[in-house]
Symmetry: C2
Subunit: 143 residues, 2 copies
DNA sequence: GGATCTGTTACCATATTAGATACAGACAAC
DNA sequence: GTTGTCTGTATCTAATATGGTAACAGATCC
């Protein structure tokens, strides 16, 4: 459906490989193949979540706010997509029906558990590992 | 985001409680609080996945194709939403950049693992349990 | 044969997504 | 302190997804 998670991971992997060098939204957009404004929108969400910081002005750009080994894909998911996994009914179910009256409560607990499981799996990968994978694959392709 | 999963679980829970009695799309729509055509669309996906069958004509309607204890929320997810968790980049990343060239491959494995974790958690709940929860809550509310 | 119900299609309104442009504000360089 | 660079945000647009609605051919029951 939406590609925010993929693009956000892409951005952060670039920042991890930059090793403290600030990257401009234009430079990042060149790798992602999109436009700088979209990159800045995502960086805005990542900064709100405490994952990145920015330096204004000439020579500025985006920076990781933490060590690459301390940021997980789960952090990225929560920053850009969190809590949007499943929606409940758009219209409230019929309260005159036993199932309609209770289904949403029964579902909420299961949906929350599923989201926890998803995030726990995403938490098993750090940006450092993503950067390493991309380095290795790039080296392999260059041989 | 989308409510297909919630509505599909609602439909199947109704069928589980009906205990072999066929329910019409109009009857189901009354509980979900939507219109019969949408219900039939979802039932169509559920039937393709082998979760329901239908009886045409007067006195007909939808039926569970399996025992309520043999259908999990993971089955429902796969039937109506499967494989749509995360999208990759809409435009292909820049192949001239080491990260752009390799990020999608590195992401695909992690996304697949996350989806497996999500489905495994959903597989822990069956329709029988959903029906029991709704019965219990309904009884509690009636006291 | 007539009534009922499914399965599918088509159409519409709305919401979401992402591409694009614009501009005020922050900061660096000089 | 003036100029240039870059961020952060708002706005607009096009494409797509979602769900509400109507319509109708086909299957089945009575």
């Amino acid at each position: 459906m939406n590609s925010r998670f993929a693009v956000a991971v892409h951005i952060l992997t670039l920042l991890a490989e930059a090793g403290g060098e600030p990257l401009t939204s234009e430079r990042i957009a060149g790798s992602v193949n999109t436009n700088p404004s979209l990159v800045r929108r995502l960086l805005s969400a990542l900064a709100r979540a405490g994952l990145t910081t920015a330096r204004h002005g000439a020579g500025g750009g985006a920076l990781l706010a933490k060590a690459p080994g301390a940021v997980t894909l789960g952090d990225v998911y929560r920053a850009v997509d969190g809590g949007e996994l499943f929606a409940l009914h758009r219209e409230r179910p019929n309260p005159a029906c036993p199932v309609g009256r209770t289904i949403q409560g029964a579902l909420e607990a299961r949906i929350a558990a599923a989201e926890r499981a998803l995030e726990a799996e995403l938490d098993r990968t750090t940006l450092a590992e993503m950067a390493r994978d991309c380095q290795g694959a790039a080296a392999g392709a260059a041989r």
